[in-house]
């Protein structure tokens, strides 16, 4: 399920970015970043009610490494999103000044 949602967002992201407008860029980055995060998360498996403690049988819990990877990736894509929003604001201001 997570994987299919990821793919859906991936398609949305590509469509938004192809629209080539300033708001399209923002929506595109949001969708694309989350899409990739969901897909990477799904590669580790999603399981309920289990925690990765040392000593418990591996089969009971989801792979914690992909979750760690996604945590880092969320920070990076969110930072890029914030920066793009700031740049777009600057472009709009500069166009008004002209």
């Amino acid at each position: 399920m997570t994987f299919y949602f990821g793919c859906l967002f991936l398609v949305f992201g590509i469509i938004f970015l192809l629209r080539n407008t300033l708001t399209g860029y923002v929506y595109g980055i949001i969708s694309l970043g989350n899409a990739v995060n969901l897909i990477v998360l799904s590669t580790g498996g999603i399981k309920e009610n289990s925690f990765p403690f040392i000593g418990i049988n591996v089969a009971y819990f989801a792979d914690p490494l992909t979750q760690a990877l996604v945590l880092t990736a969320i920070v990076i894509s969110f930072a890029t999103l914030c920066f793009v929003v700031a740049v777009i604001r600057k472009i709009i201001q500069m166009e008004q000044d002209l």
Binding site: L32, A35, I39, V40, T72, S77, V87, M94
Partner: protein, 486 residues
């Protein structure tokens, strides 16, 4: 002995960045910090290379090998680190005066974090960690690209950010897929598992290779994805475009050599795809350069064609014949080292011309040879080297590529490279005949202007000396890259 302290390559740029942030209003002190730390970076890297004490490694957090993130300083890292720190030092020298062009007060901080990301990318032996260092580099480059009050530059910068974001996400997606199929991200462990998967299911390995190639191809401006490069680089300030053109596209190529040369199993089909894309970017790059009229736009298109040349070397890294594969790794690294120095130097010199002439359009510049004969000679060294004129370093780099193509019986690649070199020569002659020959225009011979740009000139001389020493004694570097490929 000294080889164990390779983590200093992360400490130097980080310390310099922190100090520059702390003393952001003190210009002289920032200059001193930048020059000092970048010089240390260069000297330590060169010392380790000369003493032959590379190969030390650290696994972060005392995890066992293959689980924790490995930082390893092998010969490939050492060669790349040395050439990048040469650009680091030259860049610090060049920006001493050119810094006033940059409106951003945090310019030095970002300049150092850029090199922090590059150093990290060369040290790491972990696929996800490589992604993180890529993003550190790109994040600094994003801010550097869009700072300034020029609307065209900011708009081009936005496209640069979007394109690099897409490539970053493609990289992350590939990392996720690689982890799904192999359950490891450490390069040495990954190599073993990918080879065993390749025995039973080559299609999966091809898919992973293609998606990683796509991510790096966008970053290094390969054929279908090169449009962002000539759009954004010429609009940056001259020194910055030199550092970017020299290093950022080559970061993607380094990652390709590391991953396809050392981690992935050789594969005929991937080899064919890579080779065709490389030859196309080689030809389209030079044809783009022929029609441009501004110096830095011509040079930007040359970046694409040179990426094509290196890409040919990278493609042969996927060749099923093991002898050709090993020689191809050596040849690509030789070409990258030669190219980084030459390309940055050409952009720096274009910046010097621009600072003096207040223009970079070839129709308004003329007579530079009479006005500044020294600058003209300085331009000839990297320009000739880029074309591949015999005694210069570009000739030796291209000779290696010719050798592999003939060994692998791909003669059409040799033909394409000859055509590419010819058109490179043609567009260089265009710059030379328009800007350097002809009558001197009156606005030159401004003595105060001449004194001002003395220190940037030192950076160009420094890089030209490296090019010349590679030209005179290529066998030293050739021996090192061949040792690395074994």
């Amino acid at each position: 002995m000294i080889g164990q302290y390779f983590y200093l390559f992360l400490v130097f740029p980080l310390a310099a960045a922190a100090l520059c942030l702390l003393f952001r209003s003190k210009k002289e002190l920032k200059t001193f910090i930048s020059l000092g730390f970048s010089f240390l970076h260069f000297i330590v890297s060169l010392l380790i290379l000369v003493s032959g004490e590379y190969g030390a490694s650290i696994v972060a957090g005392d995890w066992p090998q293959g689980i924790g993130i490995t930082l390893k300083f092998d010969l490939l890292s050492n060669l790349m680190m040395t050439v990048v720190s040469a650009i680091y030092f030259a860049g610090s020298l060049y920006f001493v005066k050119a810094r006033t062009v940059e409106a951003n007060q945090n310019f030095d901080f970002l300049f150092h974090t850029l090199f922090l990301g590059l150093s990290g990318a060369f040290l790491t032996h972990d696929l996800f960690n490589l992604f993180v260092w890529f993003e550190v580099t790109l994040m600094s480059s994003y801010v550097l690209v869009v700072s300034g009050q020029n609307l065209l530059r900011v708009k081009a910068g936005l496209k640069y950010i979007i394109l690099n974001f897409i490539s970053g996400m493609l990289f992350l997606l590939s990392v996720g897929l690689v982890y799904k199929f192999t359950k490891t991200l450490d390069f040495s462990e990954l190599s073993i598992r990918l080879h065993s998967i390749y025995q039973t299911n080559p299609g999966v390995v091809r898919l992973l290779g293609l998606s990683l190639f796509g991510a790096f191809a966008i970053k290094s401006a390969f054929f279908p994805f090169f449009f962002w490069l000539p759009e954004s680089y010429p609009k940056l300030s001259p020194g910055l475009s030199g550092v970017f053109a020299g290093l950022l596209t080559k970061l993607g190529l380094y990652a390709m050599i590391r991953i396809f040369g050392q981690v992935f199993p050789a594969d005929q089909q991937l080899f064919n795809v890579f080779l065709i894309l490389s030859v196309l970017s080689l030809l389209i790059g030079v044809w783009g350069a022929v029609v441009q009229t501004k110096i830095r736009e011509i040079l930007s298109y040359h970046v694409i064609s040179q990426v094509g040349f290196i890409g040919i070397g990278v493609s042969f890294c996927m060749h099923p014949n093991i002898a050709i594969k090993k020689f191809a790794i050596a040849a690509s690294i030789f070409y990258i080292i030669h190219h980084i120095i030459v390309k940055t130097n050409l952009f720096f010199i274009a910046g010097l011309i621009e600072m003096r002439e207040k223009s970079e359009d070839l129709s308004t510049i003329s007579g530079l040879f009479r006005a500044y004969p020294f600058l003209a000679v300085l331009f000839l060294i990297p320009a000739g080297s880029l074309i591949g004129v015999p005694p210069l370093s570009g000739f030796w780099a291209k000779l290696n590529l010719f050798k592999i193509s003939i060994q692998a019986r791909e003669l059409w690649v040799v033909f394409a490279m000859i055509v590419g070199s010819f058109f490179t020569l043609f567009s260089m002659v265009k710059i030379w005949s328009a800007a350097f020959w002809g009558e001197v225009s009156e606005k030159q011979f401004d003595q105060t202007e001449k004194n001002k740009s003395m220190r940037p000139m030192l950076a160009c001389i420094f890089l030209a000396v490296i090019t010349l020493s590679l030209s005179v004694a290529p066998s030293w570097l050739q021996a090192l890259v061949l040792e690395m490929a074994q």
